[in-house]
């Protein structure tokens, strides 16, 4: 293992980009050779997501392993849950009884997702995020529906784009179990705005959808997080992506 580490270090120095790619490749595979562990631990210590003071330093998503991906999902579920809790607590006067009932359903789905990740991650979970919904008018049905559509479509894109990063079968299945529920939400919300727009893939091309292939949105975390940033006050640090 020692010689392998020195080989890696040499390739880092001599091969530059190629060494980087090898490291990235190894970390993507979740292969923890001694050399790789050493290379990544230095970046870990700088941010130290496991010891951070979140209020001061923000939350850090370390994508070096599945826990980073799960924390990324946890962050998005926190955002969605916080949004629907506000929607359900003070529903816009324009909503029908049926819409209010379904928004209450969706609220509990997102709370269930949030709490699932919190429990599953245990000590590895990031802290609670502070949200910023100042751009949403919760008393206006159209404003709420527009925001709900944005959250759900982005959630679908995020899960679809992050699935390939997961290395554990169980987590991959869980992500699939959640994303289809998010897609059901997205379709329902879209139909409330315009009946029949449940899967208007042409309107989702900016999120990576492709109508010609019948493919839904899919975005990598580096594309998703900037889109979510306007709703999150807590600073999100990303490493090892």
């Amino acid at each position: 293992m020692k010689s392998e580490h020195s080989n890696l270090t040499t390739s880092e120095k001599e091969l530059g980009k190629e060494g980087y790619n090898r490291r990235k490749f190894l970390s993507a595979l979740g292969m923890s050779t001694a050399g790789v562990a050493l290379l990544t631990s230095s970046s870990c210590q700088k941010s130290g997501w496991y010891k951070q003071d979140q209020n001061k330093d923000g939350a850090t998503l370390d994508f070096k392993d599945d826990f980073g991906v799960l924390n990324y999902a946890y962050a998005l579920e926190q955002l969605e849950a916080a949004f629907y809790i506000q929607v359900a607590a003070n529903p816009a006067s324009g909503f029908t009884a049926a819409q209010k009932a379904y928004f209450t359903d969706v609220q509990y789905h997102e709370i269930a997702h949030r709490e699932f990740f919190k429990k599953a991650l245990g000590a590895k979970a990031i802290g609670s995020l502070e949200v910023d919904f100042s751009t949403i008018d919760f008393s206006d049905a159209a404003s709420v529906l527009g925001a709900a559509k944005a959250f759900e479509d982005l959630g679908v894109a995020a899960y679809n784009g992050a699935g390939v990063m997961l290395t554990t079968d169980a987590y991959l299945v869980i992500a699939g179990q959640i994303v289809s529920v998010e897609a059901r939400h997205a379709a329902w919300v879209r139909d409330q705005i315009s009946n029949g727009s449940f899967a208007d893939l042409n309107s989702l091309t900016a999120l990576g959808a492709n109508n010609a292939g019948g493919l839904d949105a899919a975005l990598t975390p580096d594309k998703v997080l900037p889109l979510a940033a306007k709703y999150i006050k807590t600073k999100i640090n990303v490493i090892n992506l």
């Binding site: 490749f25 509990y108 289809s180 939400h185 139909d191 899967a199 949105a217 899919a218």
Partner: protein
């Protein structure tokens, strides 16, 4: 770590090898790239098993098997919807679709869904190339589930859903079952594609099927049969109350995920909310049993 030696050897002649096989790169954004991305799925056996190990897959199910399985399901969905839409054209030779959609928006929604299923068929066919399963035609299916047909494939009588093309409510039951089955089928195959760029494409199809399912369930509800866009709790998993579709929903009553009990995980998360918040997967064998109900004997899946 021999594999890394092999990859380093490859790197001497192909500097981009790590980029090419890294699961974090080249997330497939559209089907034009798919042929290229799939090239390693078509590698000779020895090399592809090396990649299987490299990606840490526990399953040895070849990627092509998963894609051909998906292709069969997409043919099934496509032909079901296409026959319906074609049959609604008064100038069409198809005369057995006699129910009426309640409004033009409903028919347009089904046309949209039909178009997506055709896109999925074409995408999977293109991705598989010469490895694609033989094409399936409308006449290879039996959407009445147990009907009898004459030598010219004209429907004679019988079947669990004998009135599928004459009764809108029956048609909705079958369509909803197909979409919910599709959602569960893709989910179940995800681990076999783990770490593979093809997984992203499969997930992109999967969530489109979930959008379809949500809309069809709203159509069912609009037709006066109460049903939510998401699958809620029922003792046997089947919230549609369509007994013939029990196999489609087996296990949807589950409320424990990765060892975590979801019911009461927070105030207000009832058993119904817990079941709704996570869809469940079906194994390939479960899906084959369901699909075979709608496939004529000579074409059934094994």
């Amino acid at each position: 770590m021999n594999i890394l030696g092999i990859l380093d050897e490859i790197q001497k002649t192909d500097a981009d090898i790590y980029d090419k096989i890294s699961p974090r790169r080249h997330v497939m954004k559209n089907f034009y790239k798919m042929g290229k991305q799939l090239s390693f799925a078509a590698l000779p056996l020895a090399l592809s098993s090396m990649f299987t190990k490299a990606y840490g897959q526990g399953s040895t199910t070849p990627v092509n098997d998963v894609l051909n399985f998906a292709l069969t399901l997409e043919y099934l969905e496509y032909h079901f919807y296409n026959h319906t839409i074609v049959g609604k054209d008064p100038n069409s030779a198809v005369k057995d679709v006699t129910f009426n959609f309640p409004n033009p928006t409903a028919q347009q929604a089904i046309t949209t869904i039909r178009d997506h299923e055709l896109a999925h068929v074409n995408l999977l066919k293109e991705a598989l190339g010469s490895n694609a399963r033989p094409a399936l035609a409308y006449t290879n299916f039996d959407f009445r589930a147990g009907g009898t047909y004459d030598a010219n494939n004209n429907y004679q009588m019988g079947g669990t859903f004998a009135d599928v093309y004459t009764n809108y409510a029956t048609w909705l039951k079958v369509a909803t079952a197909f979409e919910d089955t599709g959602v569960r089928a893709y989910k179940g195959q995800a681990p076999a594609l783990k770490g593979n760029p093809v997984l992203t494409t499969a997930l992109q199809i999967h969530s489109v099927e979930a959008r379809h399912a949500s809309h069809l369930r709203q159509m069912v509800n609009a037709a006066g049969i109460p049903l939510k866009p998401w699958i809620t709790y029922a003792a046997n998993g089947n919230d549609t109350k369509v007994e013939a579709a029990n196999a489609v929903y087996a296990g949807e009553q589950n409320t424990t995920q990765a060892g975590v009990e979801i019911t009461n995980i927070a105030p207000g998360v009832t058993q119904a909310a817990a079941a709704e918040s996570f869809d469940e997967f079906l194994t390939k064998a479960q899906v084959v049993t369901i699909a075979n109900l709608f496939i004529k004997p000579a074409f059934k899946l094994s």
